[in-house]
């Protein structure tokens, strides 16, 4: 199995969200970056498990600046990916990123291309579907279980109001979410060998983004909490009905 895993860089889950330049840019000051959790915990780990089970190789790909090598790529290699590709460009928008990944993957004959369910910063849930369309492949989104038997995969995915078990043949694109695998912590050996694994840097294709971000805003602050006597929860019911009007 030849497996490709798309990995992205996001602010740490506890990062303070603030903006600069008249609210037109995310303020990275003091922010620690991590590999996007669903990419790391589910997509990458499941790909490695499949490789361990069936043989083959796991390549990780990231569209991003050089910093990303230390922030996300080395970790992915330490967890168990075999090699890495970095497309040397700032990720302008989803279409830009997907176009870069698809262009790289086009002639490489991957059996499976993994993405995470969505990034925790821009919450697009877009890249997987775009890559699939660009490569004219099936796309199985929001998958929480994946088993391979030869070239046939059995996948459980989320659908409206339920789950569905489906069968699909390779090659295809899959977006991974919770349930697909358990997080792996890189061990010392993994961290040591990561440095000697191949990392290829590829220049970007000229692609025009479809969207740009003009402005950011923080949600309005909530008013001070109104406390209710635990002996009189009927007070809460009354407030929810009369004041908040939600019931």
């Amino acid at each position: 199995m030849k497996l490709l895993v798309c990995i992205s860089k996001t602010p740490d889950t506890t990062a303070k969200i603030a903006f600069t330049d008249n609210n037109s840019r995310f303020d990275t000051n003091g922010v620690t970056f991590i590999m996007n959790p669903t990419d790391e915990w589910y997509a990458l780990v499941r790909a490695i498990e499949i490789k361990e089970q069936l043989g083959g190789s796991v390549t990780v790909i990231n569209v991003g600046p050089k910093d990303n090598e230390t922030v996300v790529i080395h970790k992915a290699l330490a967890i168990g990916a075999d090699d890495a590709v970095r497309i040397d460009a700032d990720p302008a928008d989803a279409f830009f990123v997907a176009s870069q990944i698809a262009a790289y993957a086009k002639d490489q004959n991957y059996d499976l291309i993994f993405t995470g369910k969505e990034t925790i910063d821009y919450n697009g849930s877009n890249i997987g579907g775009m890559v699939a369309e660009l490569l004219d492949l099936p796309y199985v989104s929001l998958a929480n279980h994946l088993e391979m038997a030869g070239n046939t995969a059995t996948v459980t995915r989320e659908i409206e109001g339920g789950q569905e078990v489906i069968e699909v043949n390779t090659p295809f694109v899959i977006s991974a979410q919770k349930g697909m695998a358990e997080q792996r912590i890189p061990n010392m050996r993994g961290i040591m060998t990561a440095r000697s694994k191949p990392l290829k840097v590829v220049p970007p294709l000229p692609v025009t983004a479809y969207t740009t971000i003009a402005y950011y805003e923080l949600p309005p602050q909530r008013k001070e909490v109104k406390l209710i006597d635990p002996e009189h929860p009927e007070e809460l019911v009354k407030l929810l009905h009369e004041q908040a009007k939600v019931i």
């Binding site: 889950t13 279409f95 925790i120 579907g129 409206e160 109001g161 043949n169 209710i228 908040a244």
Partner: protein, 327 residues
């Protein structure tokens, strides 16, 4: 020029999210000066139900009842939507940012060379040929205004973000052939496990959620009872799903799902930043926690400091009384 929407249905029952997208699309058409709102329905839905989309301002419904659509393959649904978009000269396509929208919208974006804003929370600002659309980012911790600069635009609307107001229009239902065949289907459905007896969490208007403070899965009976009296969906914090006290799909937060119900009741949840990220855009938040210092109280509208095991039965009782008086 028109605005096109995608009809979401489960076994022929049109989802509430479709009415949200219909009402939203109606306003978008007005803002963008589009002549009509057209809906595409794929699979089997009754004509009466489709015509009722007119209540939300849909002018026409294109209905392709080819049975291939009764199974969900994002590639096939995308092809059909693209065919409809061409047929009605759509300048905007609106979908719901739910599980099928997340699979179709990005594909359609590539196919139509149309910029996509997903998880939109508000109407676009229309400025000539550029749309600026607000969406939720940083898992609910902020909003960003995205400008779409392509001639055709795609917006996927976050569930529960746009109110449904129904008038009494009727949409004309026309049969449509989107040119899709069984040869296009690449996905074979083996089994559908429907949770349809419960309300899907992302769409629920009322949510009762509980955390590690509940001590163990055996204590969830009172949470479920409270939810059922309210007609609410249930959710949980991440550690609760991690130890399998509750199913994965109930996990809300930065690494679970993001929701914005009208009412979120958090019981025995401390209010960690990663949890808040998934729920902080709820309209009203109620926190029940025995620790007055729990950080969640800072993000709450109403709070009860007390032991859940004592408070919940009383609250459920009070709600039952309220319901019987207001029935």
């Amino acid at each position: 020029m028109s605005v096109l929407i995608y009809v979401n249905h489960i076994n022929g029952n049109i989802k509430k999210s479709t009415f949200e997208t219909a009402c939203y699309a109606h306003r978008v058409a007005q803002l963008a000066g589009a002549a009509e709102v057209v809906a595409l329905s794929l699979g089997t839905v009754s004509e009466t139900d489709l015509a009722a989309l007119g209540n939300c301002g849909v002018n026409r419904v294109l209905s392709d009842t080819n049975p291939v659509f009764n199974r969900f393959d994002s590639g096939v649904h995308t092809k059909a939507l693209a065919a409809a978009a061409k047929a009605v000269n759509a300048s905007v396509v609106v979908l719901s940012h739910n599980s099928s929208g997340k699979a179709i919208a990005p594909r359609l974006s590539v196919r139509l060379q149309a910029g996509l804003v997903s998880a939109a929370t508000e109407l676009p600002q229309v400025n000539g040929n550029v749309f600026t659309v607000r969406k939720s980012v940083f898992s609910g911790k902020a909003f960003a205004d995205y400008s779409i600069i392509t001639p055709v635009k795609i917006i996927s609307l976050n569930p529960n973000s746009y109110p449904v107001t129904r008038g009494n229009g009727t949409a004309a239902v026309e049969s449509f052939n989107s040119g899709v065949s069984t040869a296009d289907v690449k996905i074979k459905v083996l089994e559908t496990k429907s949770l349809s007896d419960t309300i899907p969490l992302p769409e629920a208007e009322l949510v009762v959620s509980a955390g590690r403070g509940m001590k163990g899965p055996e204590n969830w009976g009172m949470i479920e009872e409270l939810a059922s009296v309210l007609g609410a969906a249930t959710a949980c914090s991440r550690p609760v799903a991690d130890v399998h006290w509750r199913p994965h799909h109930e996990h809300v937060g930065q690494t679970g799902i993001t929701i914005r119900p009208n009412l979120y009741i958090a019981i025995g949840i401390s209010g960690a930043i990663q949890h808040l990220a998934g729920v902080s855009n709820s309209k009203v938040i109620v926190v029940i926690n025995k620790d007055a210092e729990a950080p969640f109280f800072k993000a709450a509208d109403y709070g009860i400091i007390g032991d859940a095991f004592e408070v919940i039965p009383k609250l459920t009782q009070a709600l039952k009384e309220f319901k019987s008086q207001n029935a």
